[in-house]
């Protein structure tokens, strides 16, 4: 198999006296979708934040395209080709959808003093990308703060996909999405993977993970429980691992395998 685009080794992250990550190793290869799974509070979001330059790891090394790398800011990670959908979406509520979409990477027109933000282009692209995901926006200048939860999440995903170059990180991207939008996002992951992008996908939904994942890494209480390839593991085994290896039998019986 190909070399990993990004590889993280024995990452630790402490917040004051809280140990959020206690030695996690992980890598993504071009053209694969690597799922990161685990219980609430396992440290998934913290981990991908160190991957995308938000946190600096307390200990551990990051290798990007074979070279050791320490991203000084999310912008640096982005310029290296890592696009991320954060769990909190990283949107500015008071700004319009189009301005949020292109925040930090505005398309421009003209040269020198007349170089300007190409608003028409930004608006057109935003509307088109949103429609691809199954959301018909009323207009590109609606404030993000007045969007519904799912609409907002879709903006964040469409933005990351639009700019995603080498690695696309999605932290629970489908949590607030409707049926149709979820299907679109999963299809999109499938598509960008085929184009050679490495995808990191975090989800609590075993079915979503199994639908698109090539490898599955499970975190538990800040540590890796292990990595499995597609086909090596069943849905039930994965579910047990995600719940921290605890018994779900009792619940499953009352609710009839619905989870």
């Amino acid at each position: 198999m190909s070399e990993p685009i990004i590889k993280l080794d024995q990452i630790e992250k402490h917040f004051g006296n809280v140990i959020a990550l206690n030695g996690v190793s992980f890598d993504v290869r071009a053209g694969e979708c690597h799922c990161l799974l685990g219980d609430n509070g396992a440290g998934k979001s913290t981990f991908i934040k160190t991957m995308s330059g938000v946190h600096r790891p307390t200990r551990g090394t990051i290798t990007f395209e074979g070279r050791p790398m320490s991203f000084s800011s999310p912008r640096a990670a982005m310029e290296a080709g890592i696009a991320t959908v954060f769990q909190d979406l990283a949107m500015i509520p008071l700004m319009s959808v189009a301005r949020n979409f292109f925040m930090g990477r505005e398309p421009t027109r003209g040269w020198g003093l007349t170089r300007r933000f190409d608003v028409e282009k930004a608006n057109a692209i935003t509307m088109a990308e949103m429609k691809k995901m199954g959301i018909n926006l009323r207009g590109p200048d609606q404030a993000v703060g007045t969007l519904s939860g799912g609409e907002r999440q879709t903006v964040a995903i469409a933005r990351a996909v639009h700019f995603g170059a080498k690695v696309l990180i999605l932290d629970e991207p489908t949590s607030a999405l409707g049926v149709r939008q979820t299907a679109n996002v999963l299809a999109t992951i499938d598509k960008v993977r085929a184009q050679g992008v490495g995808v990191v996908f975090i989800s609590h939904n075993v079915r979503h993970a199994l639908a698109v994942g090539d490898r599955f890494t499970v975190l538990n209480r800040g540590k890796t429980l292990g990595t499995a390839r597609r086909g090596e593991i069943t849905s039930e085994q994965l579910q047990d691992l995600m719940a921290g290896g605890q018994e779900l039998a009792q619940l499953e019986s009352t609710l009839g395998g619905t989870v």
Partner: protein, 369 residues
Amino acid sequence: MTNTTDTASVDERIKAEPLLARLMKRPELGAIAGLVLVTGFFLATASEAMFSLSGVLNFLSPAAQLGILAIAASLLMIGGEFDLSIGSMVAFAGMIFGACVVNLGLPLILSIPVTLAFAALIGAANGLIVLRTGLPSFIVTLAGLFMLRGLSLVGLKWITGGSTQLRGIREAVEGDLLTPLFSGDAFGGLFAWLAQAGLIESFPNGTPKVPGIPVEILWFVGLALAATWVLLRTPAGNWIFAAGGDATAASNSGVPVRNVKIALFMLTAACAALLAVMQVMDAGSTDARRGFQKEFEAIIAAVIGGCLLTGGYGSAIGAFFGSVIFGMVVIGLTYTSFDQDWFQVFLGGMLLLAVIFNNAIRKRVTGER
């Protein structure tokens, strides 16, 4: 992908919205209602001299001086920070500038860049301290307020040998090629011609009552246009809104928040220095109390113009209107026959009314609740 029917163009979930409502929703235009209210008030109560050509220029000139600060302050506020040191910076930069032209005898082409650079440097220092320590800019620039004011006093005494006032600047800059750019009136020839043609009032001796448009008004308008262009039509403008709206989210989305904020601090300080240069050249002197409380008035003007103190929302045009409203109210009372004792009551009342009126009109027109 799925083939959704294209309903975006005719969405049944949008009511038709009149042009007026669309306009009033823009933060740029929110302050117009207040301006109309205040103008109406003075049209009704003030001596008619207020709205003669010379009267209008007379209240626009302080408004412009305030506005130069307020526009910069509004950008900084939109970017999520304050600078309380700009008032003191006016005194400090005035001193630097005065020392350059009077004591060192430098020409304006050197003095002005030196003054602006000095100010920008201090602005950058403010910004760096804020970003490094993570302290609120309020407290950091407050320290700047005290320190710059104190340094102006100490510096002036040192330069002048004991006085807190530095004089002789008008003589020193007289004849410099750049002088007309920063002091006096523009379009003097045009106005002289208009007066001769009898189109504008003139003194008995034939010189026009209004010798021209004070240059600070041109700077003010220019700055407002430039700032609006930057805010609405450039990537940097988008970054300013983002940095002020939510610094973490902006930084996570790839906005260079630190650089944006430092640039804004530098701009604000430089605008204060620009004002200092103009004031000093106009007045011919500078003293340690120049610009006293101007930081406060600049913030007031920006807030009247619709900037939020919490950052991420506002406009330069709003600050423009806010400054005009503030300047008009402050000078306007001079043209009415109200007792000066009531000045502050009146000032407070007018400001409150103007802002409430802005707000009420906007809500009414846009149907917000």
